[in-house]
Amino acid sequence: MQRIVDALLFPLLAVISAFIVGAIIVLLVGDNPIRVYEIFFASAFGTVDGISYTLFYATPLICTGLAVAIAFRCGLLNIGAEGQLYVAAFAAAWVGFTLDTSKWIVIPLCMIAAMIAGGIWGGIPGLLKARFGSHEVINTIMMNFIAVGITSYLTQYHYRIAGDPILQTKPIFEQAHIPRMSAMLAPFGIAFPAWLPLNLGFLIAIVACIVVYIFLWKTKWGYELRAVGANPSAAEYGGINVSRSIVIAMCLSGALAGLVGINEVLGYRYRYYDGFSANYGFTGIAVALLGRNHPLGIFLAAILFGALVRGGLFINIFSDRVSKDLVVVLQAVIILFVACEAIFLFLQKRNTGGKS
């Protein structure tokens, strides 16, 4: 019980502190924080539409959160989820508009392509780290820019429909579409609005949470990966191949980030859209930190951040002083507070001091 309280206490404090900072900023720009937060919560959680949009926005963040977390567990910081999800989404789209076959073949192939492309993009910095010791942070940042360049080049010069003013590829074949929630619930007689973009990608993200949990805590590779993260020299002394764990962690991290491509391309836009990611990769860092690098925590944190995205859109509409960028600020402040846990330590000191 104490463990659960401890695990929840700091993240909650961080979120509450961030909302207080947000309220101060709202006051500074001249609006009423209570009104703004009311709009925010009502739009994110108040209706079925709101909740399903919140879950839809949470889907890519679950994936990038898991991606960052699995690298974190191995002692690596993957700032490159943004680049990994771009190449993955492009790969999924490429398979989707190239192969005109049965959906039972093309959908799995699209998914595998996304995970492999993301895995390679994450694996390269892992390999460079394991082989040459070059820092994964710098390399993942550099590969973000390279991913943006390559995907935008391929879109602009090779796969755009001639004359399309928007930088996007041609659409994927209809067989490559994954079902939306409405189609999946229909056989059970549940009516769900068909315009809502929530799709199979969300369920895939949940499965990914479970798989990551099993991998990290129930398999040998997962154990080795965590051992390397906890203490690389002890792990090496204990006979664990540290280099291999680093490469595996980064490949898996990239593959998980690649799942974003499935939700985005196969479930929502049905094409590759240049620059589609609203900082999903970077928000994934916040999600992983807030979720304490645990799949369950990440799921909950992603829903909070999904709600922030949804709420932000409505704040944008209903306030003429506050813009949706408040959400970006809140995300950053949450990271700051979670990373500076020591700020809250005085609370705990007082607690244990009282007990002893």
Partner: protein, 294 residues
Amino acid sequence: MINAADIINISLIGSTVRLATPLILASMGGLYSERAGIINIALEGIMLSGAFTGAAIAAKTGSPWLGLLAALLAGLLVAAIHAVACIKYRADQVVIGTAINILFLGVPALFSKAFFGSSGSTPQLELEQRIPNFLIYVAFLVVPLTYFVLFYTRFGLRLRMVGESPEAADTAGVNVEKMRYLAVLISGLLAAAAGAYLAIGQNSLFTRNMTAGRGYIALAALIFGNWHPVKTLLACLFFGLAEAVSIRMQGVVDIPNQFIQMVPYILTMVVLAGFIGRVHPPKAIGQPYVKERR
């Protein structure tokens, strides 16, 4: 037909210098911080804070000098957040840097909607409200100054010592935390000046995410230049040249622009992997220093 003289001519030097200026200022900033052992991924965010504050205050007051002053103050403030989080609370330096970069994607847009009614940009300044050349001179003065400070003054010696071996520095009576605070604050001043140059020197307004990754390129130049002021300057000039050439080649040569833009990033990875010489980052970089109780 492509005419090489259209691309390579005397004015190319001018545009290289102009495009390298923000990189030089920011990477010199990063140099102080990283030489003292604090990773500064936040350069991008600090540049954005300087660019926005500079343009906003210049627009409100009509004075670019007040704008520059405000930009420097903003840079100091943001650097102070980075410093307190990394030094006092011993937070992960990369995570804090990333948070600051995200923060300044949001803050300028938030405030520009409230104060200028446009989400993302500040009003266009008059031509005389810009300071086109001043910060270029500053940038090229900062490099020899940094070289001198780093290698010929007691302050520089202590700064490097704190970044290489904080324990030894502490034993020798150097206040490790104070040195690191100073280094990060200097870093904030210079990165903010880089941002101000973009907004009220080269351009005449702030636009959303106007740094467009230059903070990261400055970081790349720092690594490429092996954390040495002169080599870093050369790296900045090289990256500035690459950008200048890529701008000129648009529509003239049939090489996709994306490939030229990727050059600095690919080069950095190659250098980091040790294919061109060895890189020697400061030894204690990224590690919070915990003073031992005596």
